[in-house]
């Protein structure tokens, strides 16, 4: 969870007065809060940690980092299903249903 992943801003939106964006991480897309980089524009790359952009990054560095993370398999750990990952580590089935593990908003 220390990981901060670079992603490209696809769109901007205002949600209840909060600046949000849709960010693409090499094919995986997530809602990201832009309140800490409020002047970021569509097409720019930002470093994202737990759904918040915390810094800008130039395109070349961002693409290189994303390729590295994909190669290392860390994107799945960051964006995958937490219960599935934990269950696999424990060698036990996922408790109950997994329906509640992802919030669509």
């Amino acid at each position: 969870m220390c990981l901060a992943v670079p992603g490209r801003i696809l769109s901007l939106s205002d949600r209840d007065g909060t600046l949000m964006s849709l960010v693409d991480f090499g094919g995986i897309q997530k809602d990201v809060c832009l309140q800490y980089i409020p002047d970021a524009a569509i097409g720019e790359y930002v470093v994202v940690h737990v759904g918040f952009a915390i810094q800008r990054l130039d395109e070349e560095s961002a693409i290189r980092t994303l390729a590295e993370f994909e190669h290392l398999g860390v994107l799945n750990e960051e964006f995958g299903d937490g219960f599935e990952i934990a269950a696999k580590q424990a060698g036990v089935p996922v408790p109950g249903s997994t329906a509640t593990t992802e919030v669509k908003s």
Binding site: M1, C2, L57, F83, A90, P95, V103
Partner: protein, 366 residues
């Protein structure tokens, strides 16, 4: 050099290793205080690529690992309540409390949910107005702005059924505590790049001066780490002790001003216990008085917690860099990622888990 071909640019990695080797004339002990860096160092065998004189000591840089047992037990108690939806990052699910973990609470019927962002927990709270929704707010300075914003939004939007179980810790006081320890062997630090993304680097010159140690802000990717080590060794060999930024593509001296302003508003500095280390003065954040009503510890009055660490787990010594994971008798035997005795065996950023995953054969046959 068996690992070099795994680097994204093996030629550059080789050059950096050669330069470190050429610069090194004596033994040096360098500590990284970032779980992501620990993971990267072990995974890529960076410590094995380095000259024998350079020892990498793995510091208390994994937020999951240093969250105190008492706080885990509080989380488990709150998560067991039928009126609560308990939200957490996935890394916390299998961190052992005194008796159980969050994964077990879920198996027993507790409503434990994994979210990607703390804002998702706020969304869950708004969708479930008749339930109490608690988010487990752990982490270093990198994660704190996300939790601060979520509490700020809860207050702004009047979401009364949301609260935060806060266990935030800060890197600079931990560096000071490590340097103050009588058994300290550390001569330089790699500072965590993304902590500095948020906080900037203003807090570090005081430490370099007081303890006469180089501190080099370093990224997470293997080449970043080699570059951080190279700069550190050059400083050590020339007798300098300065703050250097080896991660300028993401870290600016002033940090992220908007995030720092939010942190200042929502949190205040407090003493915090670190799992395996103990209390470090002024080493964490709690909610400031204006946001205290969103503090899950107050809301649920979790008291009467009696904690009990495993008798044989030596993760405290691992976290302080006093022993390497495989020097613990339980490592790879009673304690594995499948049955972790300590938090350092759970998180992929924990030193024990990293050693187990990437060094298992070597250690087993040692």
């Amino acid at each position: 050099m068996k690992y070099l071909d795994e680097f994204s640019d093996p030629e550059l990695a080789g050059k950096l290793v050669d330069q470190i080797r050429a610069a090194t004339s004596r033994r040096w002990a360098i500590m990284e205080v970032c779980g992501g860096q620990t993971h990267s160092i072990i995974r890529h065998g960076i410590d094995q690529l380095l000259p024998d004189e350079i020892e990498m000591i793995h510091g208390p840089g994994c937020p999951v690992c240093v969250t105190p047992l008492e706080m885990i037990d509080k989380a488990l108690e709150i998560a067991s309540r039928p009126d609560v939806i308990f939200c957490s990052f996935g890394d916390m699910l299998r961190v052992p409390g005194s008796k159980k973990d969050l994964f077990r609470i879920k198996s027993e019927g507790g409503d434990v949910r994994v979210v990607y962002s703390p804002l998702d927990a706020l969304t869950i709270a708004r969708e479930n107005p008749d339930r109490q929704v608690v988010f487990f707010g752990i982490g270093f300075e990198t994660t704190a702005p996300a939790n601060a914003m979520t509490v700020y939004q809860a207050k702004r939007l009047g979401v009364k059924n949301f609260s935060l179980l806060v266990s935030h810790v800060l890197v600079p006081p931990a560096i000071a505590a490590i340097m103050e320890s009588p058994t300290c062997r550390v001569q330089a630090f790699l500072a965590a790049g993304h902590v500095c993304c948020v906080m900037g680097t203003d807090e570090y010159p005081e430490l370099t001066e007081k303890y006469q140690i180089p501190i080099v802000v370093t990224g997470f990717e293997p080449l970043d780490i080699l570059e951080g080590i190279r700069r550190t060794v050059i400083q050590l060999e020339s007798g300098r002790h300065e703050l250097e930024n080896a991660y300028p593509r993401a870290v600016q001296a002033e940090g992220n001003k908007a995030a720092k302003a939010m942190l200042e508003d929502v949190f205040e500095v407090t003493d915090r216990a670190w799992r395996g280390i103990g209390m470090i003065p002024q080493s964490g954040w709690r909610l400031s008085p204006a946001y205290r009503e969103y503090d899950a510890e107050h809301r649920f009055s979790v008291t009467g917690i009696h904690t009990a660490e495993s008798d044989i787990c030596r993760s405290g010594e691992v976290l302080q860099g006093m022993i390497k994971p495989h020097e613990c008798a339980a490592f790879g035997k009673e304690c594995t990622p499948r049955n972790p005795l300590g938090a350092t065996m759970v998180s992929s950023e924990g030193a024990c888990a990293a050693y187990y995953l990437y060094r298992r054969l070597e250690v087993t046959h040692a």
